[in-house]
Subunit: 615 residues, 2 copies
């Protein structure tokens, strides 16, 4: 194995160090590290859109003819390259614009999406007003004067707030100027001389990780984001184990609820400390998430998710008091749980759809890949949604050498010009496992080079060109067995692993096909395929089409919409119109229970094979 | 001292034992033990109304000529007597009707007032309804079906309630019959298969003691009452000391709030255990009380009560969440704090006025005697209220041998036919102090017999007939110095004690006079003088007029309305119309700040003298 090259990623004043194998193209390196998004990607690194312009210094190949064609002379002078045409040859410094770097949710860099435009002033505003001073002769208490000043509004103030107001209410002052924090032109949640910093919290609660964004509600600015491991995982990595735990243990539900609340509270604490605010300044929460997580949040039974017809206690949006659930924010803060579609299609999916407002495409397919893959098809004013039991293959589970993306994970496979299987991995030193997105790349490479056939069988060509041995789970392609390189066992990819990928992609593709069939449209009718979720941002669209996971659309129609559920939750936080819209979306989406569809079995079996149609 | 006679008071199946001195009339004995009320009293024991008919067995005097005139032959045959004409001669059994015994708030006997008639069905009702069962094909979660069934209502259910409902929601059932607990035709607070026992709590929070009634909201029945010492007293017996404490100590307010909440919670616990219900079944609370206590309840600053213009933070009625204050009732229970008039005239006074609904007398004077005496004058549609700083004399405070009514307290003075000063006391054994109501009796007796003059000076006649010595607080009338009888020091009543009584009655009478002057009416125009409060029920109306505390009306116009504040709080609990009425009353009552009245000083000084006008 060659020596890795140091890559300095410079964003504003911040510099991060990564390592990559010489020969890798800069686009795949940046995509693997999540620096590629809508703004600098249209063709998925396939070399023709000319959008991935980036300033590069250091050891790279010379300009290609395409670059000479796509780049302006001035850009060339400044050292701008197209990332997909630029190959790493040694140490390189690459300059990433902050807005692109902002897509990284794994650290505390701000979230890229900017909700200022969505913000609806009627949702939260601070209003100046006057009340008469305390009249010495006919003393009216301050609360009574406030009620009079805000006639027709609901005063929802803490007792501490009222006590605090006495500071300004001395007898003899003719009038007192105050500010009121007004929600939805209806409820006053704080009155003070100064109201500095009104915050809200948007949550996206996933099975594996929890996301929270702290938002300045007055300005519509995201002030901080945080993502933490869902600590419920000790009771089961997947959601169904946790549902079972709740059924078996009397205190199970309460335990799940408490763990989640503690988890959220510690995220709130970190965000508040980072922004240097009091948690008292958080007046509103919105929460997206899968149905089971939303039930855990409210402390509601998940029994209904253990068996058909998979109905929880609520699908409608819920308005709860955050304080009653034990969430450490302002005592008067409301928690809005976004509505759910049904079955395992939750508030996260509704939030994803919401995130496309105010101008959603006419016809699109939205796919959120996970252990449960959610698929939504929108066709004009109608929408269908289904949940596909994909299993954990795309998260690296059930794959012999698979695992979660972390230090030492292979995060990208590609074929070099001689059809050698090459990879990149996270961090330095030794290789540990193959993460989910790389599993898709691997299968795609194997198919492209003819190392496996249309039915997933390892071919003679593979046996000639790669190292293939016999293993307990069928023939094994050895990915890496250099003892200096591998941390634990050699990394392999065997016949059974391929089967797992087939099952996963078959499940998701079947969901897509059934929804398209319901809508009566073909893949050519789609305006976009939208990939949601953090995982989606790591996927190579070309490879997803190649293995048949996604329909064979123009690759430029595949858009990564990033953490769209979080974006939707933020939109619902800063605009009550958007919150209402979420309820409308829920009402519009038709939930499709796949297992009930007559042709489900047949479609699923057909979809296990790989579609090797060339793009 | 003669040997005391055993008195058996029999109420229904219950028998209580008391002890009394032979020679005492049965009326004063019963009044002292709070068995006399509106139903069996009109002339205050003065012997002419004929209302205090009571069945008596045992050693008593023979029938008087008045009794022979007032009693029917059949009544005489049954052993009925007029209590005020019947003198105790030895062991006696007396039969008290339950409704009269029910006025005793000091034990757990039910409160006499029955709110069934006041109860407004729209305030609380249980409604039967159906929802469709869980559809196997298009499963709508139970919450969504409930929202649909209760369209236009607010569902304010606990998460536990929702979880509980899953018990009845099995797939395949065509419809589920449920019951909903509906408040004010607007909010649903519980949904269940059976709703058994919906309770509310009415509070009256006084400086010295706290009262709570547990009410069945569906039936409008009082299920239990309880009265407990206000544990805040360790921070000051009077309210002003507690206000000062809060100003001095940073944590003072919070401490007062916590003590009160703990106090209330332990009363709730006792009431719930007694009635064998869960505190979860308490869905609503109303609270009357003096302004400072109501601020302590909400945890609001009492700083405004430390100095003129004596304005707190709120006068309007407040609706708070009981649970947020730490009160152990249903998590969704609302706490309604009754509106206040202003200054030290609080929600208890509003509740007293409310208690006269639905047919209040046209013109009445309402007096609640305490350290702060509240006085209300109603004249048609107008009302005036004032708070008189009476000081603690009428509670036995500032009186050399005074004290709270308890075991060993002298609770009644009377003159025998030879103008000897006689008394009765609570319990057996030794005499400890003179309680507040007995102080009024004592002064009245001293005036009647001419032992003190119109200006309160101990007369020559007293020195001849009573034992009068010189003390540090002026000449002292020795009430009891028999070392076998007195527990601690001899009981005395001196010139300074008389002065304290003059100050107290002067303050209250001045308030009465000023309000009557404002209304432009004289005492002859009054329909009633209503005495409120537990203390009021111990007062002898004749004596109150004699010392000039109350205007000289026909004694039959003086009515004891008992714990009217508690009654008002209960009415507001069982009827939202009454709660609204309380707000109207607050808006109607004109608060009069006595110290600002031009003639206050002059009137007060004039009122220090005793009015010895014979009735």
């Amino acid at each position: 194995m060659e020596e890795k090259a140091r890559i300095n990623v410079i964003t504003g004043e911040k510099s991060q160090v990564f390592w990559a194998l010489p020969g890798q193209d800069l686009w795949s390196f940046l995509a693997a590290h999540n620096f590629i998004n809508d703004d600098n990607n249209n063709c998925g690194g396939r070399g023709y859109c000319g959008k991935c312009k980036i300033k590069v210094e250091g050891k790279v190949n010379d300009l290609t003819s395409t670059e000479k064609e796509k780049l302006l002379p001035d850009e060339i002078r400044k050292g701008i390259r197209l990332a997909c045409h630029c190959r790493i040859a040694g140490e390189v410094s690459v300059y990433v614009e902050e807005k692109n770097a902002e897509f990284r949710l794994s650290d505390k860099a701000p979230f890229a999406f900017s909700p200022e435009m969505i913000r609806d002033e009627e949702t939260v505003k601070v209003v100046n007003f006057f009340i008469p001073g305390l009249d010495d002769l006919a003393p009216s208490p301050i609360y009574d004067r406030l009620v009079e000043a805000w006639h027709g509004y609901k005063l929802d103030l803490t007792m501490d707030n009222l006590n605090h107001l006495l500071l300004f209410d001395r007898a003899g002052r003719p009038a007192i100027e105050l500010k009121a924090l007004v929600f939805d032109n209806r409820v006053v949640k704080r009155i003070d001389k100064k109201i500095e910093g009104v915050y809200g919290l948007a949550l996206d609660l996933g099975t594996t990780s929890l996301f929270a964004a702290l938002v300045d509600l007055e300005k519509g600015e995201i002030k901080g984001v945080i993502s933490r491991t869902n600590m419920q995982r000790i009771y089961g990595a997947d959601i169904i184990s946790r549902v079972s735990y709740c059924l078996e243990k009397e205190d199970g539900l309460n335990k799940m609820h408490r763990i989640l609340i503690n988890n959220i509270n510690s995220m709130i604490k970190e965000l508040a400390e980072e922004e240097n605010i009091s948690t008292e300044q958080i007046y509103k929460i919105t929460a997206a998430g899968n149905p089971v997580m939303l039930h855990f949040l409210a402390g509601l039974s998940v029994r209904g998710f253990a068996a058909a017809p998979y109905a929880g206690i609520f699908k409608q949006g819920l308005k709860l008091e955050a304080w009653k659930l034990g969430i450490n924010v302002n005592m008067q803060a409301d928690l809005f749980i976004l509505p759910q579609v049904g079955g395992f299609v939750g508030g996260d999916t509704v939030a994803c759809i919401l995130s496309l407002e105010p101008d959603p495409p006419a016809r699109y397919l939205l796919v959120d890949i996970g252990t449960n893959g959610e698929v939504v098809l929108a066709c004009g004013d109608r929408m269908w949604a289904a949940s596909a039991a994909a299993g954990p293959a795309f998260e690296g589970g059930n794959i012999t050498s698979g695992g979660r993306a972390e230090e030492g994970s292979i995060n990208k496979f590609y074929l070099d010009e001689e059809e050698n299987l090459r990879f990149t991995f996270i961090g330095e030193g030794q290789v540990k496992n193959i993460c989910g997105s790389a599993v898709i790349d691997l299968v795609s490479c194997l198919l492209t080079a003819g190392y496996i056939d249309n039915r997933g069988i390892i071919t003679e060509k593979a046996r000639q060109r790669l190292k293939v041995t016999a293993g307990s789970r069928g023939s094994e392609i050895v990915i890496c067995d250099d003892i200096k390189m591998v941390r634990n066992n050699p990394l392999v990819f065997n016949q059974e692993d391929i089967r797992q990928v087939q099952l996963a992609k078959g499940a998701i593709r079947t969901a897509i096909d059934i929804l398209m069939h319901k809508a009566g449209i073909s893949e050519d009718d789609l305006d976009y395929i939208l990939l949601a979720g953090t995982f989606g941002s790591y996927l190579n669209p070309t490879n997803c089409i190649k293995i048949g996971l996604l329909p064979g659309v123009e690759v430029s129609k595949i858009k990564n919409i990033g953490n769209a559920a979080a974006k939707g939750a933020i939109m619902a936080l800063v605009s009550s119109k958007m919150l209402k819209k979420a309820e409308e979306i829920k009402g519009k989406v038709e939930y499709v229970e796949l297992a009930r569809e007559a042709d489900f079995e047949e479609r699923f079996i057909n979809n296990l094979d790989f579609d090797v149609r060339r793009l």
